[in-house]
């Protein structure tokens, strides 16, 4: 059983993870969700786990958004989505990305992407903790295995 070393002195046992390249975009929140994703990313890296956060959408299979979608970031998100090759999925993490949260639509913000697009994974919270984000990813991977297997 793999250990997620950064989560507590004892580490947290992890189920089997499948390889996944994630491109993350902070699309207009407070970066709280992004900070928790950063913690998760470091822990995954430290444990040499096969889920990676990558610096370009061109090698990603999942587009993961945090924050409400601002008017300025809408075309950026669209471009990133178009740049992703092959099978791709959209995930939204945190209240802002799921339904706008405290930052619903106004002149500068379109709202939560979770309400406007079909997402494969949506995890509310303000922000969800790294272990909750990981659990959601694991659940999603298990559900994909379930439907494909």
């Amino acid at each position: 059983m793999a250990q997620l070393h950064l989560f507590g002195p004892e580490g947290t046992p992890l189920p089997r993870l499948e390889a996944l390249d994630i491109f993350h975009i902070e699309s207009g929140g407070c970066t709280g969700c992004a900070l928790e994703l950063a913690s998760l990313s470091r822990a995954l890296l430290a444990g040499s786990h096969p889920i990676r956060f990558v610096p370009t959408p061109r090698q990603a299979g999942m587009l993961l958004l945090t924050g409400s979608l601002t008017a300025g970031m809408a075309p950026v998100v669209e471009l990133a989505w178009q740049a992703m090759p092959g099978p791709r999925v959209l995930a939204v993490i945190g209240d802002c990305a799921v339904d706008g949260g405290l930052f619903g639509g106004n002149y500068a913000v379109l709202g939560g992407v979770g309400e406007r697009a079909r997402t494969s994974m949506a995890l509310p919270g303000c922000p969800p903790a790294p272990d909750e984000i990981l659990a959601a990813l694991v659940r999603w991977q298990a559900s994909v295995r379930g439907t494909s297997g």
Binding site: G29, C30, T31, A34, A46, T70, G72, M73, F103, N106
Partner: protein
């Protein structure tokens, strides 16, 4: 000269906000003339639709000069305070009020908002440019020639979005044009009409890396507006949680910088300590990130356990040793991304980055060293919390100003209440000055170092854009 300008401001009409005076147009112009030779750093500039307000530091006090703005605009401060440039453009973006003698090209508005200007009572509908405002390279970028590279707004990292156009005629960056507004959420519009408790929840989510400082500055402004003293327990919680936040944010910066420079041991140690801090925060107030903690719950504990502090202190000592070891982070980051004391003063940059510039040339090494020192200081403050006492209110006429020291510098909040609700609000975040100064800080840098320099500054676009 400073005393003369301060006296001139104080001759204006006093307001219900302590330290704020309304000047007539002549006095405002005289103030600008006097500022040429005065040592009054500009801390913020904003509008409420009727007046424009300029916040200065005079010695240890805050002084606000306001002027009523006719539709044709108000005389710009940017010719005498370069840091006024972006706020003047923001005021134009949000209120349509021009600064006479200042720039009018947009800072936040990328041409995608459905109305303009968005904060006036009856904004005009705008078609919205489907492609957004065309990105026109400034003269500096054009002159630099050679390759033009972009940085942001989506780099796959975990920071708030902004964009830079970088002109590289050779190996080194010669021209930089920041493009902000990607993280703008219209906070001033959102806060209007809210009860203070609702507003405080939004304020806590301006920038997660400085949430305690924002909550504290807002709470102080609110206490000043309502004329109520801040209870000693709230003051104590502010000191303690502010220290926790400073440790966490500085560790985050150190972990990122170490990883970028390939120092795996420092990166892992900083990240492990950061995780300890987050878990301690969860134990103390039920939150890993310190949202909604000011005012604190009645049962809030006022100290961190000794064993937790000892573990963090040991980690801090190791981090310090690793930082200064031969070929360690300090040696690797030396000379990169210089923000000297003179530059900091010129751009109105204060706080941690300014203190770093007093340590040496003001490069990344100095900034990381300053953060390491502040982690040590904050751990000491947590080990022996100072005696907290009630903070008396200043003013109480429905308008208040408050500040708190955030991890990247001082944060200011101003608000006006009407019928118990927020009628007008402004926030000054240190990242706006940092964003403005990026062209000089990045000048001469290698493209590969841009990310590292930005991280070392603690620049948060979400705080700058609001």
């Amino acid at each position: 000269m400073s005393a003369k300008v301060a006296a001139l401001i104080r001759q204006g009409a006093p307001t219900s906000c302590a330290g704020r005076f309304v000047l007539d147009a002549d006095a405002w112009r005289a103030m600008i003339a006097g500022l040429h030779n005065a040592d009054l750093p500009l801390l913020g500039l904003w509008a409420d639709g009727v007046q424009v307000h300029a916040l200065f530091r005079y010695g240890q006090t805050a002084l606000v000069a306001s002027v009523v703005t006719p539709p044709e605009g108000y005389p710009a401060l940017s010719p005498v305070r370069i840091g006024a440039g972006a706020p003047e453009r923001i005021i134009h973006d949000l209120w349509g009020i021009p600064a006479i003698g200042g720039r009018r090209d947009p800072w936040l508005d990328q041409g995608r908002w459905p109305v303009a200007p968005p904060l006036v009572a009856h904004p005009a509908p705008m078609p919205g440019l489907p492609e957004g405002r065309e990105f026109i390279d400034g003269p500096a970028v054009m002159q630099a020639g050679g390759t033009v590279l972009g940085y942001g707004p989506a780099e796959g990292n975990f920071r708030a979005p902004f964009h830079l156009r970088l002109g590289l005629p050779g190996e080194r960056i010669e021209a930089v044009q920041p493009c902000m507004g990607y993280a703008h959420r219209g906070l001033a519009a959102r806060l209007r009409g809210l009860a203070p408790q609702q507003a405080a929840r939004l304020v806590a989510r301006i920038d997660a890396t400085a949430t305690v400082a924002h909550q504290l500055a807002f709470a102080r402004a609110l206490h000043n507006a309502t004329g109520t003293a801040m209870p000693a327990q709230d003051v104590a919680a502010g000191v303690m949680l502010g220290a926790m936040e400073r440790i966490a944010t500085h560790l985050d910066v150190l972990a990122q910088a170490s990883a970028m420079l390939g120092d795996g041991r420092s990166a892992t140690l900083a990240a492990t300590m950061l995780e300890q801090v987050r878990q301690t925060c969860r134990e103390l107030c039920g939150r890993r990130l310190l949202f909604d903690v000011i005012p604190p719950a009645a049962t809030f504990p006022v100290c961190v356990e000794g064993t937790q502090l000892a573990a963090l202190a040991a980690g801090h000592a190791s981090l310090h040793r690793l930082f200064w070891r031969p070929r360690g982070l300090a040696a690797q980051a030396r000379g990169k991304g210089v923000l000297s004391a003179t530059m900091a003063a010129r751009w109105g940059i204060m706080g941690c980055n300014a203190r770093a510039a007093d340590k040496g040339p003001g490069d990344i090494t100095d900034r990381l060293d300053a953060r390491l020192s502040e982690i040590g200081d904050s751990l000491c403050a947590l080990a022996t919390p100072p005696e907290a006492s009630v903070m008396e209110a200043e003013g109480g006429g429905g308008e208040g100003l408050g500040w708190a020291e955030g991890p990247a510098g001082p944060i200011w909040h101003w608000l006006r209440l009407e019928a118990g609700h927020v009628a007008a609000w402004w926030c000054g975040d240190p990242s706006l000055a940092l964003a403005q100064a990026l062209p000089v800080i990045l000048s001469g840098a290698a493209y590969e170092d841009v990310d590292l320099i930005v991280v070392s500054l603690g620049l948060s676009a979400t705080g700058a854009d609001l």
